[in-house]
Amino acid sequence: MDRIPILQMARTLLVTVQVDMHDQLAVRLLDDLTTMITKTRARGVVIDISALDMVDSFIGRMIADVAATSRILDAQTVLVGMQPAVAITLVELGMALPGVRTALDVERGMEMLDDHGDH
């Protein structure tokens, strides 16, 4: 079964999406992340989508769901690396991803978590 790997670094989880995700793969990632946050008591999740050349409403919703779910589980989610063309298209599609924190790259995403967390 296809899975997107989740790396654990101290109390931060790092996901690098490198394949063009079909819907079921995106749903599985949300499930896996939720489980991992609880199991590892993670305080932060960084999702790197710099390799994605498209984010549609389904993947966008998955990202928003990860952010909302992690917040309830006391973890912050930062979305990093979105390509400019993807960002413009997503907004035009009608998805501005409210409530999702973003950073330009993984390094800045990690810094953002450090500033807020005690992890």
Binding site: D20, M21, H22, D23, Q24, D53, M54, V55, D56, S57, F58, G60, R61, Q83, A85, V86, I88, T89, L90, E92, L93, G94, M95
Partner: protein
């Protein structure tokens, strides 16, 4: 809707849509056609995103079907035309279905209305008997 004619020198790419992996294939084929026409990265991204939304609509609401993706011309203009065809239950109220936030499925209801904003031409033919056919064009 349109004066666009199929470019006779370029093949029509047909993709069967029966599962969520096929939506990914539709995206890839749309991107290939966008490259052939010489779309910018942003133009290609918009086309591919619209393709993804419409292919998912064919899958989720139409119960599957197929897509045809071709290069079209109108005078000196070139573009990509995509047709999504299913034999599902049809869309009872098209105007309502086009509205943002309206959904009968698992999505956010941005599929139809959102994809219309990402293309230059958008046409729906739908009936309970014959299913739904959505045709879109994005010009370079």
């Amino acid at each position: 809707m349109t004066t666009a004619i199929t470019d006779p020198d370029r093949p029509v790419i047909r993709v069967e849509i029966a599962g969520s992996e096929d939506v990914v294939v539709v995206r890839q084929r749309a991107r290939e056609q966008a490259h052939r026409v010489g779309f910018s990265l942003l133009e290609a991204t918009k086309l591919v995103t619209a393709a993804s939304e419409l292919a998912r609509n064919t899958l989720e609401h139409g119960g599957g079907g197929y897509a045809e993706i071709e290069i079209c011309t109108a005078g000196v203009r070139r573009g990509v035309r995509m047709r999504f065809v299913d034999e599902g239950p049809g869309i009872p109220d098209v105007e309502q279905a086009m509205r943002d936030g309206y959904t009968t499925g698992k999505g956010l209801g941005l599929g139809l209305g959102g994809s219309r904003r990402l293309v230059n031409e958008f046409q729906i033919e739908t009936s309970a008997k014959r299913g739904t056919q959505i045709t879109v064009v994005r010009w370079k």
